[in-house]
Amino acid sequence: MTDSAPEPLLALSNVNTFYGQAQVHFDLSITVGRGHIVCLLGGNASGKSTTMKIILGLVRPRSGDVTFDGASLLGLTTPQIVRRGIASVPEARRLFADMSVRENILMGAFVRNDRDVVAQDLDRMLTLFPKLGQRLSQRAGSLSGGEQQMVAMARALMSRPRMIVMDEPTMGLSPLYVDRVLELIRTINQEGVSVFMVEQNASLALEIAHEAYVLQTGTIVLSGPAQALKDDPRVRDAYLGGSEAA
C-alpha cells in the first residue's frame, strides 16, 4: 500500500490517552496521506471521538506525537491547530443553534481575513449545497438533521482547510442523506482536501475511503487499503464487537 501513498499529511504515532485513570488509546498510530480519505472504524466507546479530539488539541495525549505536514501539533491550542489548516465536522454537528445558517457558515471562515473571497466562497457553498440557499436566514437549530449536516460541512469548508476531520458524518441521517453526504465527501476530496473520518457504518465508509483503520477499545486491530478491508470478514466482527469489549 505504500507504493502509491504520498508522504503523510497527518500522523499520530504511539499515542496513549487517558481520562483520569482510564486509558482510552493504547499506542495508537494512524497516518493520513495527502489527498486521501482515511476512515477510522470502531464500535461505541472504542475511542474514535477521542482520536478526533487529540488531532484538534481538545484532549492532550499522555505520550506519543501528532504531526501535521511534518510539524508537531502537541502544545498548540485548538485555534492554532485550526489555523494550520485542519477543519472539523464534530460529532452531532454542533452548530451554533441560535445563529442563522449564514452566520454558521461564515463562522467557518473565522480564521480568514480576506472578506471578498469569503463572500465568493459562501456562494460556492450554495452551489455545493443548493438546499441551504433558501435557509440562509433561518435559525440553524431549526433545521432537520440532514440539513444541519450540510451546514456543518459547508462551515468546515469555509476555512479552506487542507484537511477535514469528521466524526460520524452520517449518524442519524435518512438513507437519502447518507448517500448525499458520502457523495459530498468524495467531491470535497477530489478538490484536494484530505479527509479523516470516524464512522461506525463500515460498509458505507469503505465505499469512499482510500485507507481504513479498525479501532477496538483503544487499539488498532486492523488497517489497510479500504478495498482490501471491505472484503475482510474480521472487519464486520471488529466493528460490531467493539461495543461489548468496553
Binding site: 484538534l56 481538545l58 491550542t77 485548538t78 485555534p79 485550526v82 489555523r83 477543519a87 472539523s88 464534530p90 454542533r94 452548530l95 451554533f96 443553534a97 441560535d98 445563529m99 452566520e103 461564515l106 463562522m107 467557518g108 473565522f110 480564521v111 462551515r155 476555512s159
Partner: protein, 607 residues
C-alpha cells in the same frame, strides 16, 4: 405626593442602571457559565473612580464617563486574567468561589482606601426638572436613559456585526465548537469581562450621581440586583437581561409606592425566588429547557481526606475541654468561644455545601432565625434559655428548610443565587415585621445564657457551654456521614441525575440535610443572641455567610473536623497576629482566593 408617572419614570431609570450591570452578567454567564459575584464590586470601583475624577480631578462629565469605563474595564481584565483564567481546568465550584473572594478583596480595598463613610458624588448637571405629563424628569434621568440606550445599541451592533462579537455569540452557544472554528476563547473571555466591567463601572458612577451618594455597601446590593435582573431575563440572555432589569426597576418602584421604601429589596428578591422556582430559565425561555449548567465534571475537588486517628481527636478535645483550668487569659477564651460558635455554623454549611453539594451563600439567615426565635422565646414567653436555644435550632431547621425547599430542583450556581436571595429575604422580613421583631430597633435586653436556672456569666462557663454544644453536634454529624444517609448525600452531590435514577428522592435528602444543618446553625445563632444580649437585622449578615464558606473550604468541604479546624484557624490566627479588624475581611477574601487556586480540597481534604 408623587404621581404614578413619576414612579414609572423612576422605575425605568433604575431599571436602566440595573441593565448595565445585568447585561455584563449575562455576557459573562453566556460565555463561561459563571455568575460573576464580583460584578457589584466593579460597580463600586466605578463609583469611586467617578468620585476621584469628579471631585478631585474636576473632569467634565463626558470625560468622567470615559475614565470610569476604561478604568473599570482594566479591573475586569485583571480579574479575568489573574483571578479566573488559572482556574479553567478546576472543579466547577472554583470560579464561583473565586469571584466571591475577588469581590471581598475589591470591596475591602475600596473601603480601606476611601473609608467606609458615604461620600457625595455630584452629577455636575443642572438641577432642573421638566414637566412631562403628570410627572417630572431631570437631566440626570435623561443621561442615564441615554447611556443605557446607547450602550444597548452599541452592544447590539458589536455582537451582530463585529468579528469579536460573532466569536462571543458562538462561544456562548458552544464553546468547543467555537474553538474548532479557530476562536480563541481566552480572548473572548477577556472581551466579555472588559465589556461587562466597563458597563458595570459606569452604572455604579451613574447611581452614585443619581442618589448623590456612594458607599461601600453598594457593591453587594448591585450584584444582587444585577443577578435578579439577569435571572429574570434568563441567564446568559443579553436582551432578556435588559427587559428583566426594566421589569425589576418597575416592580421595585411600584412596590415602594404602595408599601414604602424599606420594601424595595424585598420585592426584588421575591421576584427572583418566584422566577427561579417557576421559570428557572427566565421569563423568555421555553419552560422545557433545563438550566444551562454543565452536568458533567466534578463539582468539588476530589481528594483523599487526611485521616486523623481517633486518639488524636480525643486528646485535642480533652485539651480544649480542660483549657479553662489553666491560667489562660479571658481574651483567649473569648476568641475560642467565637470559634466554637462559628464552628457550629461551619458544621451546618459543610454538610449542606460539602456533603450534599448545595453551596449556600445565605447561611447567616439560619443564625438569624435561631437567634430571634431564642431571644423572643425567652423574652416574651419566659422560656428557660437552654430550651429557648433548642427552640431556635428547631425553628431554624423547620423554617430554613421550608424556605429553601422550593429551590431544591435547582443546581449549582442557581442554588447559590437562591440561598443568597433567601438570606436577604429573611433579613428584610426581620427589618419590616416590626410587631414581632421590633424592626430596625432590634432586640435588646436578651437574658444571658443559663442552664437549669443557673446563669452562665463567667467566660469559663460560656466557653464550656458553647464547646459542648459544638462537640455534640460534631459527633452527631460524624455519625450521620458514616451512615447510609451520608453516602446518599454524597451520591446526590456527585451526580444527581444518576442518584435519581437509583431511586433516591432528591427532595427528601436535601430536606434532611437542611434540617440537620438548620438545627446546628440555629443553635449557634441562639447562643450568640444570649451572649450578645442585643441583636438586629444586620447582626447576621452576608459577610458571615461568606466567612463560614471560607472556613468550610479551608477545612475541606464536607469534612467535620475540617470545619472546626477552619473555624479555629480563621478566628484564631488574626488574633494571634493581632491583625486590625478592618484588614480581616480582606485577609479572608485573600485566603479564599488562595485556597481555590492552590488547595481547593482544603487543609484536611474533602469528603
Amino acid at each position: 405626593m408623587s404621581s404614578w408617572l413619576d414612579y414609572t419614570i423612576n422605575g425605568l431609570i433604575v431599571g436602566n442602571v440595573y441593565a448595565l450591570v445585568a447585561v455584563g452578567l449575562a455576557l459573562i454567564f453566556g460565555v463561561s457559565r459563571l455568575i460573576n459575584f464580583a460584578q457589584g464590586s466593579i460597580y463600586l470601583v466605578g463609583a469611586y473612580i467617578g468620585w476621584v475624577a469628579v471631585v478631585q480631578l474636576h473632569t467634565p462629565l463626558p470625560l468622567t464617563i470615559i475614565v470610569v469605563a476604561v478604568a473599570a474595564a482594566l479591573v475586569g481584565l485583571i480579574i479575568e486574567r489573574f483571578g479566573l483564567r488559572p482556574l479553567q481546568n478546576s472543579v466547577r465550584i472554583a470560579p464561583l468561589l473565586a469571584t466571591i473572594g475577588i469581590s471581598f478583596v475589591l470591596d475591602q480595598l475600596v473601603m480601606l482606601t476611601f473609608s467606609p463613610n458615604p461620600r457625595a458624588l455630584p452629577s455636575q448637571l443642572p438641577d432642573v426638572r421638566f414637566q412631562v405629563g403628570g410627572g417630572t424628569i431631570g437631566p440626570l434621568d435623561l443621561l442615564i436613559a441615554g447611556v443605557g440606550i446607547t450602550s444597548a445599541l452599541l452592544l447590539f451592533v458589536f455582537l451582530r456585526y463585529s468579528k469579536l462579537g460573532w466569536a462571543i455569540r458562538a462561544t456562548a452557544q458552544d464553546r468547543d465548537a467555537a474553538m474548532q472554528m479557530g476562536v480563541d476563547v481566552n480572548r473572548v473571555n477577556q472581551a466579555v469581562f472588559g465589556i461587562a466591567a466597563a458597563l458595570g463601572g459606569v452604572s455604579g458612577m451613574l447611581v452614585g450621581m443619581y442618589y448623590n451618594q456612594i458607599d461601600t455597601a453598594m457593591s453587594l446590593q448591585a450584584t444582587l440586583k444585577g443577578v435578579v435582573a439577569e435571572v429574570v431575563g434568563g441567564a446568559g440572555n443579553v436582551p432578556g437581561a435588559v427587559v428583566g432589569s426594566l421589569l425589576l426597576g418597575l416592580v421595585e418602584s411600584y412596590g415602594v409606592a404602595v408599601f414604602g421604601t424599606s420594601y424595595r429589596n424585598l420585592f426584588a428578591f421575591l421576584l427572583l425566588v418566584v422566577v427561579l422556582v417557576l421559570r428557572p430559565n427566565g421569563l423568555f425561555a421555553s419552560a422545557r429547557q433545563a438550566p444551562p449548567e454543565p452536568l458533567t465534571g466534578t463539582f468539588i475537588a476530589p481528594s483523599r481526606p487526611v485521616r486523623i486517628p481517633r486518639w488524636a481527636l480525643l486528646v485535642a478535645a480533652g485539651v480544649f475541654a480542660i483549657l479553662p483550668f489553666f491560667p489562660v487569659s479571658f481574651y483567649v477564651l473569648q476568641t475560642l468561644i467565637n470559634a466554637w460558635l462559628l464552628g457550629m455554623l461551619a458544621l451546618s454549611l459543610t454538610l449542606v455545601a460539602g456533603t450534599i453539594g448545595q453551596v449556600s451563600l445565605g447561611h447567616a439567615a439560619l443564625l438569624a432565625i435561631g437567634a430571634y426565635t431564642s431571644a423572643l422565646l425567652s423574652l416574651n414567653f419566659s422560656v428557660p434559655v437552654g430550651l429557648a436555644i433548642i427552640g431556635g435550632g428547631l425553628m431554624s431547621a423547620a423554617l430554613g428548610t421550608a424556605l429553601i425547599s422550593p429551590s431544591f430542583r435547582l443546581r449549582g450556581h442557581y442554588v447559590s443565587i437562591a440561598t443568597l436571595a433567601i438570606g436577604e429575604i429573611v433579613s428584610l422580613v426581620i427589618l419590616n415585621w416590626e410587631s414581632v421583631t421590633r424592626g430596625p430597633i432590634g432586640i435588646s435586653g436578651i437574658p444571658p445564657l443559663s442552664l437549669f436556672g443557673y446563669d452562665l456569666i463567667s467566660a469559663t462557663s460560656i466557653y464550656w457551654f458553647s464547646f459542648s454544644a459544638m462537640v455534640v453536634l460534631a459527633l452527631l454529624q460524624g455519625r450521620l456521614l458514616g451512615s447510609h444517609l451520608g453516602r446518599s448525600f454524597r451520591a446526590i452531590r456527585d451526580d444527581d441525575i444518576a442518584a435519581r435514577a437509583y431511586g433516591l428522592s432528591l427532595n427528601r435528602y436535601k430536606s434532611l440535610a437542611f434540617i440537620f444543618g438548620g438545627f446546628a446553625a440555629g443553635v449557634s445563632g441562639g447562643i450568640a443572641a444570649h451572649l450578645y444580649s442585643y441583636i438586629n437585622h444586620e447582626t447576621f449578615n452576608t459577610q458571615q455567610s461568606i466567612l463560614a464558606l471560607t472556613v468550610v473550604i479551608l477545612g475541606g468541604l464536607g469534612n467535620v473536623v475540617g470545619a472546626i479546624l477552619g473555624s479555629v484557624a480563621l478566628v484564631g490566627l488574626p488574633e494571634v497576629f493581632r491583625i486590625a479588624a478592618e484588614y480581616r475581611i480582606l485577609i479572608y477574601g485573600i485566603v479564599l482566593l488562595l485556597l481555590v487556586r492552590f488547595r481547593p480540597q482544603g487543609l484536611l481534604g474533602t469528603i
